[in-house]
C-alpha cells in the first residue's frame, strides 16, 4: 500500500511540475491552451484531475490503511513482535 501511495504521489508530482494544473480550466468550460486545442487540453486536464484526486483522497487512505494493518498485526501477534524485534542499524 505504501508503494502504491508513493507511486501515485510521484506521478502526481511529475504532472504538477509539468504545469498541467493550468489545464483544469476545462472544469468551467475554458480551454487550457489555444495552441494544443480542446481535445488534448481536456485529456491533460482529466489526467491531472484524476491523479490529483488520487493524491488527496487515495494516498492518505492507503497510508492510513497501512498504519491500521501494522497496528492490527502487532496487536494480533504480540509474542511475534517480542521474539522477532526489528533489526537495528
Amino acid at each position: 500500500m505504501i508503494q502504491r501511495a508513493a507511486a501515485i504521489s510521484g506521478l502526481f508530482l511529475v504532472l504538477h511540475l509539468a504545469g498541467l494544473r493550468e489545464f483544469t480550466g476545462i472544469l468551467n468550460g475554458t480551454i487550457g491552451s489555444l495552441a494544443l486545442g480542446w481535445r488534448l487540453s481536456a485529456a491533460l486536464a482529466i489526467f491531472y484531475i484524476v491523479l490529483y484526486l488520487a493524491f488527496v483522497i487515495l494516498v492518505p487512505v492507503l497510508l492510513l490503511a497501512a498504519a491500521i494493518l501494522t497496528v492490527w498485526q502487532r496487536l494480533k501477534n504480540p509474542d511475534e513482535q517480542r521474539t522477532n524485534p526489528a533489526p537495528s542499524d
Partner: protein, 389 residues
C-alpha cells in the same frame, strides 16, 4: 479491504480540515482580506500586461464572448469596493477602472454590441427596435456608476445619464417591462443589474426612479416567480413567458442585486436559494444549478455538472456572491473550502488565480471577497451627505 474501508471512514470526514481556512482569509469587514489582495494583484497584472491579458481573454472568448465582458464588469465593481476599503490604493484602482471602462466602451463602439454577445444574438431580430442588449447596457451603466460613486469623473456623467435614460425609456416602452438581452430573450440577472445601475444613478444625480423600480419588482413577484420553489426564474420572453426556470448561475447574483432594491425580497430569495440549491457534504460547500423539481440541461452558464453530487461550477462560483452578501459565513467558509480543494489555486509572486476557473470566475470571486462598501454608501447616504464629509 476492511483496513481500507476503515481508513476511508477516518479520512473522508477529516479531509476538509486540510482545505478549510477561516472566513477572514476570504472576506473581512474592513480593509482587504489576504485572498482579495492576491486575486486583485493577479487582475491588476492582467491590465498592465497586454499580452497576458489577450491570452487570458482569448481563451475565454473561444467558449463565450460574454465572459470577456462580464470579467470586466466584475473587476470594475470589485475595484470600486476595494477603493473604498483601501483608500491608500484608490488612485491605482481608479486608473485601472477607467482603463477597463474606456476600452470596453471603445470596443462596443468600434465592433458593435455583438462583440460581447454569443453568436446566436445574430440569429434573429430584436423585438424592440433599435436593437439594444440590456446585458450590455445594464452592466456598463453599473460600471460607470460604480466608478463615479468612488470619485466623480465628469466625463462619465453624460455617458451614465444617456445609458440610464435609454434603459428607462425602454422599460416605459415595453408593455410588460421585459427588456431583451438577446432577441426575444430577457434575463433576470440583467434586469436586476440594470435596476441597480438606475438606483445608483439616482443616488449620484439626484434623480428619482423609485416608482419604476417598485413597479418592476411588484411585476416580477407576480409574474416571474416559479410557484414551486418561490425563486425568481432566470429568463423569459418579451411577453413574459418563462424560457428557463430558477438557476443557480443567476439567482445568487439576483439576490445580491435585489439587496439594493428590496432588502426583504432579496433575503427571501437568498434563503430560498440556499435551501433549494446550496449543499454541504463532508465540510465541502457547493451549489446545484436547478432545484430538485426543475431540471435543465447543462449550458454555458451552469458549466459542466459534476455527477453524483450534482455540482454546478457556475452556480457554486456565484454562490460566493450570495453568501458574502448575506453574511452567511458558514456557507461561505464551506464554499471556500471546496474552492481550495477543487479550484486548483495557483499562487506566484503574491498573485492568486484559480486554474479551474478563468478570468471572469476569478473576478466574480474577487467581487464576493470585496463587495459591501459601495452598496452601503448608495443605500445609506444621500449624495449631499457624501459631499459634506
Amino acid at each position: 479491504m476492511a483496513a481500507l474501508t476503515f481508513a476511508a471512514a477516518i479520512w473522508l470526514p477529516c479531509m476538509h480540515f486540510i482545505f478549510a481556512k477561516p472566513v477572514s482569509n476570504f472576506r473581512v469587514k474592513q480593509g482587504l482580506s489576504p485572498e482579495a489582495r492576491q486575486l486583485a494583484a493577479r487582475h491588476l497584472q492582467l491590465w498592465t500586461e497586454p499580452a497576458l491579458r489577450e491570452q487570458e481573454l482569448n481563451k475565454m472568448r473561444v467558449s463565450n464572448a460574454e465572459w470577456d465582458f462580464m470579467g470586466r464588469s466584475f473587476l470594475v465593481w470589485s475595484l470600486a469596493n476595494m477603493a473604498l476599503r483601501d483608500p491608500a490604493s484608490k488612485p491605482r484602482y481608479l486608473q485601472t477602472m477607467d482603463q477597463i471602462i474606456d476600452e470596453t466602451l471603445r470596443l462596443e463602439k468600434q465592433e458593435g454590441m455583438y462583440f460581447f454577445l454569443m453568436p446566436y444574438a445574430k440569429d434573429g431580430p430584436y423585438i424592440m427596435q433599435p436593437s439594444r442588449s440590456l446585458f450590455l447596457d445594464g452592466e456598463i451603466a453599473l460600471m460607470l456608476a460604480s466608478r463615479r460613486v468612488v470619485e466623480e469623473k465628469p466625463e462619465y456623467k453624460p455617458l451614465l445619464t444617456e445609458r440610464v435614460n435609454g434603459i428607462v425609456a425602454r422599460f416605459h416602452e415595453s408593455p410588460g417591462m421585459f427588456l431583451e438581452s438577446y432577441p426575444d430573450e430577457c434575463w433576470m440577472f440583467d434586469h436586476c443589474v440594470a435596476l441597480d445601475a438606475i438606483k445608483t444613478a439616482d443616488y449620484l444625480d439626484k434623480t428619482d426612479h423609485s416608482k419604476l423600480i417598485r413597479d418592476w419588482i411588484a411585476m416580477a413577484k407576480q409574474k416571474l416567480v416559479d410557484p414551486k420553489s418561490g425563486l425568481l426564474i432566470s429568463s423569459f420572453t418579451t411577453g413574459g413567458e418563462p424560457l428557463a426556470g430558477p438557476e443557480g448561475s443567476s439567482i445568487w447574483m439576483v439576490s445580491h442585486s435585489l439587496q439594493l432594491l428590496d432588502e426583504d425580497f432579496a433575503r427571501d430569495q437568498y434563503q430560498r436559494a440556499r435551501k433549494e440549491l446550496g449543499a454541504v457534504t463532508l465540510g465541502f460547500g457547493y451549489a446545484h444549478e436547478w432545484p430538485e423539481d426543475w431540471r435543465g440541461e447543462a449550458n454555458i452558464d451552469s458549466g459542466p455538472i459534476i455527477p453524483v453530487f450534482d455540482v454546478s461550477a457556475g452556480s457554486s462560483g456565484m454562490a460566493f456572491i450570495g453568501a458574502s452578501s448575506f453574511g452567511d459565513d458558514e456557507f461561505l467558509t464551506s464554499l471556500a473550502t471546496t474552492l481550495n480543494f477543487a479550484g486548483f489555486p495557483s499562487r506566484t509572486g503574491g498573485r492568486l488565480k484559480y486554474c479551474a476557473s478563468n478570468q471572469v470566475g476569478d473576478a466574480a470571486m474577487l467581487y464576493a471577497a470585496t463587495l459591501g462598501p459601495l452598496r452601503e454608501k448608495v443605500k445609506t447616504k444621500t449624495k449631499y451627505e457624501n459631499f459634506s464629509q
